[in-house]
Symmetry: C2
C-alpha cells in the first residue's frame, strides 16, 4: 500500500511522473471499468511504459487506489468550488447542488460515479477500494451536513442524508438513462424537502 505517499504536487514541487500517471490512467478506468482494463491496455492508451507503471505502483490494486484517492480529492474540490462560485445564500446553495450535477451529467464523457462503480467491482468491505469509496461518500455527507447547518434548517442531519440520497439516485438515473432529466427531478424533490423543513 502507498496510503502515506504524498503527492508531489501538493508539496508544490513540479508535477511528478506519478501524478501524471494517475491523471492519464484515471479516464481509462472510468470509461472501461477496473477489472475490464488490463495493464497492457493502460500502457497502449496512455503511452506510459509498463516498466514505469510498476516502478511507481507495486501492483494494479495500488494504482487503482491512487486513482480513487485522486478522484475523491478532485471531485469534492470541483463540486464545492462550483457551489461556492454561485455566491448564493446557504439555502439556495443547497439546491444549486442539483444544477451542478446537471452540468456534470451533460458532459460528453459522463459515465456515472466512479465510487459507485468501484464499490460494485470490489464488494468485499475489507477491500481498500471499497473502503475508499465508502469514505468518499462519508466525506460528502459531512460536507452536506455542514451546509445544512449553515442554511439553518430544522434538522440538518436528516436533510443532508436525504439530499445525498437524492444525489446518488440522480447519478444512477443519469448513468442508466431511465430519466431524461434526473437532476431536475431531484432538484424539485429537494425544493419540497427544504420547504417542508422550513415550514416546521
Amino acid at each position: 500500500m502507498d496510503y502515506l505517499q504524498i503527492s508531489t504536487e501538493r508539496c508544490s514541487m513540479r508535477p511528478s511522473k506519478r501524478d501524471e500517471l494517475v491523471r492519464k490512467v484515471l479516464p481509462v478506468f472510468y470509461r472501461e471499468g477496473f477489472h475490464a482494463t488490463g495493464m497492457d491496455a493502460l500502457v497502449s492508451e496512455t503511452g506510459i511504459s509498463k516498466t514505469t507503471m510498476f516502478k511507481h505502483f507495486r501492483t494494479k490494486d495500488d494504482l487503482i487506489l491512487a486513482v480513487l484517492r485522486h478522484r475523491d480529492e478532485t471531485f469534492r474540490n470541483w463540486l464545492f468550488r462550483r457551489l461556492d462560485e454561485t455566491g448564493l445564500p446557504p439555502r439556495e446553495r443547497l439546491l444549486a447542488l442539483f444544477d451542478v450535477l446537471k452540468e456534470w451529467f451533460s458532459e460528453p464523457g459522463f459515465r456515472g460515479c466512479m465510487f459507485i462503480k468501484a464499490s460494485a467491482e470490489f464488494q468485499d468491505p475489507e477491500h481498500p477500494a471499497y473502503v475508499q469509496s465508502a469514505e468518499h461518500k462519508r466525506l460528502l455527507l459531512t460536507a452536506l451536513t455542514r451546509m445544512c447547518r449553515e442554511a439553518e434548517v430544522q434538522n440538518p442531519a436528516q436533510l443532508a442524508r436525504q439530499l445525498l440520497i437524492l444525489k446518488e439516485g440522480a447519478i444512477v438515473a443519469a448513468h442508466m438513462g431511465f430519466d431524461p432529466d434526473p437532476a431536475g427531478a431531484a432538484k424539485t424533490a429537494a425544493e419540497s424537502l427544504v420547504a417542508i423543513d422550513t415550514a416546521q
Copy 2:
C-alpha cells in the same frame, strides 16, 4: 444470444437444468461480481460441470444475460407482490415501497442492486447487459407511474421519477454504508413529496 429462449418453467414444464443453472449461478455473480467470477469458480461453487454450462450457454456473456433476465423477473415480482400483500390503499402503498426496501437491505446477503452493478461493469450502452439493466429500471418506472396514477396524485409521472430516484439512492446508500437507515430517510422524504403533491 439467446434472447428468445423461453424458460421451461414459464411453460409449466418440469424445472429444466438451464433454470437450475441460472438460479445457482446468480448468487455467485451477485456476491463476487461478473468479471471477477471465472467459469471455473462457477463450476466449483455450484457443482455443475463446465461442459454442461457451455452446453446450455454458448458464452459467459449469454449466461450473464440469462442471469440478469431472471433477476429482473424475480425482483419485480417479489417487490410488487410484497406491496400488494400490504393491502394498503394506493397512497400508503407508495410509501410502503420503502418498508419493503428496508427488509431487503437487512437481509444478510444484501449487496446492492444487481443492475446498478451490471451497468457499472458493462458500460458500453450497446452491451446487452447494459441494455437489460436499463430496461429493468424502465420497467420499474412504468410500474411506479401506474401506482402513482392509482393513488390519484397530481403529477404521477413526476412523483414516480422522484420515488425511483429515492429508491436508487437508498440502495446505493445501503450498499456503501454511509447511512444507518437509508430506507427510513428515503421514506421520510417520500412522505414529504406525497404531502406536497396532495396539498397542491
